[in-house]
Amino acid sequence: MSKKPDPAAVSTFADHEVIVPPNKLKKAVQRLKPGEKVAFDPVERAEAALAELAADFSVWMESECARLDAARNAVRASGITQGSKDVLFRAAHDIKGQAATFGYPMVAPVADSLCRLIEHTPDIARLPLRLIDQHVDAVRAIVHRNTRGDVGKYAAELAEKLRHVTDEFLMRENHDNPDTLESILSPSLAP
């Protein structure tokens, strides 16, 4: 006879229920005794495994850049549609999230600025192609100069300028939408 799963414990109140589900994951919890040694540090081992992948990161970054460039070219060739805008956004968004992992942290602020431009422009027909181009070209330029000693200053200046121009554009485009303006101007929660 098969054993039935433990039912969740439900406490019912006037307008809500508090449910304590069966804890299926307690099988993975190990409580160590004081002084008990562990076979390995999982974080250190994961970092070592990631370091072994690092030889591929420059190739991966190049392919992400090529994807962003292709998305930009599609927008230029056919105009901005919801579909082409989404593809461009996802390409920029992936670079924003992965650049630091790949060893290109200075690319992330530029990709972030491009994401903001795409996300917060209320009318996609008014997305400025030239400013999109400048962001994409800046990403590519910083990636290609990543090993040069002066890339940090160069990248920071580029990112700051692009962010400034983008924010000015977004504030103009959203001047009658205070909620969006607040969202644009509020700081990011992550570095």
Binding site: A28, R31, P42, R45, A46, L53, D94
Partner: protein
């Protein structure tokens, strides 16, 4: 001290970016996990969730077909699948306050802002495994208890009716969202 036996956990990673899936798989294998399943969009993710019954779901937000937020809302439907309580870690490049709140209100268990680090991912997994939170069901919400602490300065009325709120103290999601584990 608590340690997690990753070998006993089954993960589902949903991300449309193959590089990020590879990174996540590498980190999880490094922690000691053997079973890592992958899907490249929300629709495939939902199918894989049903098929593999993972212990923990790690999902991206921005994906084609339907995104990580919609996927979370689909999983958090009592009766729609066999584990609406599964821990969901939202791993995303989005880091704005409104995004963190939206993911919390969709039923996300933990929020992890990219860039990813081994330490930050480990901490999120440790928290969902070692400190599971009760679920709350109201007319408009079903998901992990969104109250992670008691605010002594709260001056309003108790919004939950019919009983004293029971709170398991944890670091608020908004504070944790800023911790990416860089420079551990």
């Amino acid at each position: 001290m608590v340690r997690i036996d990753f070998n006993r956990l089954r993960f589902l990673v949903i991300d449309d970016n193959a590089h990020m899936r590879r990174i996540l798989r590498t980190l999880l294998h490094g922690f000691g996990t053997r079973e890592v399943y992958e899907a490249e969009d929300g629709a495939a993710g939902l199918e894989a969730f049903t098929h593999y019954s993972p212990d923990i779901v790690i999902t991206d937000w921005a994906m084609p077909i339907f995104d990580g937020l919609e996927l979370t809302q689909m999983i958090r439907q009592p009766g729609a699948n066999n584990n609406p309580y599964v821990p969901i870690i939202m791993l995303t490049g989005h880091s704005e306050k409104k995004r963190v709140i939206a993911s919390r209100d969709a039923g996300v268990t933990e929020f992890l802002a990219k860039p990813i680090s081994a330490k930050a991912l480990y901490q999120r997994v440790l928290n969902v495994v070692a400190n599971p939170r009760p679920f709350i069901r109201t007319r408009s919400y079903f998901g992990p208890d969104r109250r992670r602490n008691t605010n002594p300065n709260y001056a309003g009325t108790e919004r939950r009716k019919g009983g004293k709120a029971e709170v398991i103290t944890q670091q608020p999601l908004l504070e944790k969202a800023g911790v990416t584990g860089q420079g551990r």
